[in-house]
Symmetry: C2
DNA sequence: GACTTAATTATGTATATACATATGTGAATA
DNA sequence: TATTCACATATGTATATACATAATTAAGTC
């Protein structure tokens, strides 16, 4: 009998503890909301909130009429912040520099169209640029922007501001896909990132949509010293 | 005046729409809970729930007395499922195979101790194994397990079951750190993963703790064809 | 027995109300 | 002017109550 003062936090943490310490094993049907409410001396709504949070975190599974049980295969998931390059670099205490390499309206190659499920290959803006931390190459960005969705990008000035920074302010997205992989530096990438051709690089690829319409595809290449870290 | 039936979902989605469509620009102070409650014909508690969800998603910032405003720098974050190798491979429709390479109780090298903030280098179990998808090498795992925290691991049989699978069932963790990076395959890794030495590899590193006590450090190496994908 | 229907039950959501808490604002004070 | 303090106010949380909804169980029907 816990005689804590009622709070969805204390309840959540206590239940969480019972699961972590295997007092309630995976698969166990735990007491109903009413029962827990009585145990903790709280209202059912308060217990409900605690349980919903744990369910959302994936450590409980709830079903009407069937009750709440400890997740058998806790689909643990971790979060990572979607990096915005300037903040990422400045957050590490480095000075951020930016260099535009090229920006031209041109037809997109087949691969890019396929990746974005585009029917027409025209009306695409191809931007290449380099992001540096304390004057050292940090990320090479190769980006395609769909001018049919974001026509304003034609008039954007990418000389002083990176395309991501511009897009954040002008074209919000509703959906995104992130891919991370390892690759070997091409000759171009190698010279820009000051590594040797064939050296391993860390690649992030990002596609964003607004209501089903593809906005942009970004190919982001880091030297292999780069680390993506996240906590749970 | 929206004449929807009250529901925290409809309210949440409508507010979300107003922000996505830039009716409320970043930084805008949006109406208070009372006002929104009246607009939607709902109770304040219902509006509160909608607002809290949006705040949690990072698109609103709320402060007592100061009100709620559209986040200026929406700290968007994406989630990725913490992969469990067997499920990951079987989920792709491939057959999973497992091969234990070595398992021995030995002193941990300096690097490992430092990474885990360990004072004593003794009482560590070093396990090396290979995970395959359809008989093709998929991931090489090099893991250190802290026997001081998980003494049962001494009696675990890693011949038929991977250490991660065993740990999931025997040693829950409260905290974890994930690192992703690119690297070049060492001679060992290359021969095990059937790539050439120096070829790029995708590396995941995972450290887990239970209440501050380090449990395990896993070094997970994939051939460069590997992709880590996540959606938002 | 197979199928349909109704009752039961645990969770899901909405609401009014009350009080807690953080934090701007402005008044009172030094 | 600067500092302190009390007050106002928007959000945060808890509660009782009511009803909705999904899913299981039991009862009824052919």
């Amino acid at each position: 009998m816990t005689s804590q003062r009622a709070s969805f936090r204390t309840i959540r943490d206590e239940l969480s503890r019972r699961i972590a310490e295997r007092i309630w094993l995976p698969g166990t049907l735990i007491p109903g909301e009413e029962a827990l409410a009585e145990e903790f001396g709280a209202a059912r709504a308060t217990v409900n909130r605690a349980l919903q949070e744990l369910a959302r975190a994936g450590i409980l599974e709830r079903k009407r009429r069937a009750g709440t049980r400890v997740a058998l295969h806790p689909v643990r998931e971790a979060r990572f912040v979607i990096p915005r390059i300037r903040q990422e670099i400045e957050g590490r205490g480095s000075e951020y520099q930016y260099r535009l390499l090229s920006a031209e309206e041109t037809d997109a190659p087949e691969v890019i169209c396929a990746r974005l499920s585009l029917l027409s290959k025209s009306g695409m803006l191809h931007v290449r640029c380099l992001h540096l931390a304390d004057r050292v190459p940090y990320q090479y960005e190769d980006r395609w922007i769909n001018l049919n969705t974001v026509p304003d990008a034609r008039r954007a000035d990418f000389k002083s501001m990176g395309p991501n920074e511009w897009l954040v302010g002008h074209a919000p997205f509703s959906n995104a896909e992130f891919t991370f992989m390892a690759g070997a530096a091409s000759a171009d990438e190698a010279s820009l990132l000051q590594v040797r051709e064939g050296d391993p690089v860390f690649i992030g690829e990002r596609i964003t949509w607004m209501k089903g319409q593809p906005i942009t595809l970004a190919h982001l290449v880091h030297p292999s010293s780069h680390r993506m870290v996240t906590h749970l």
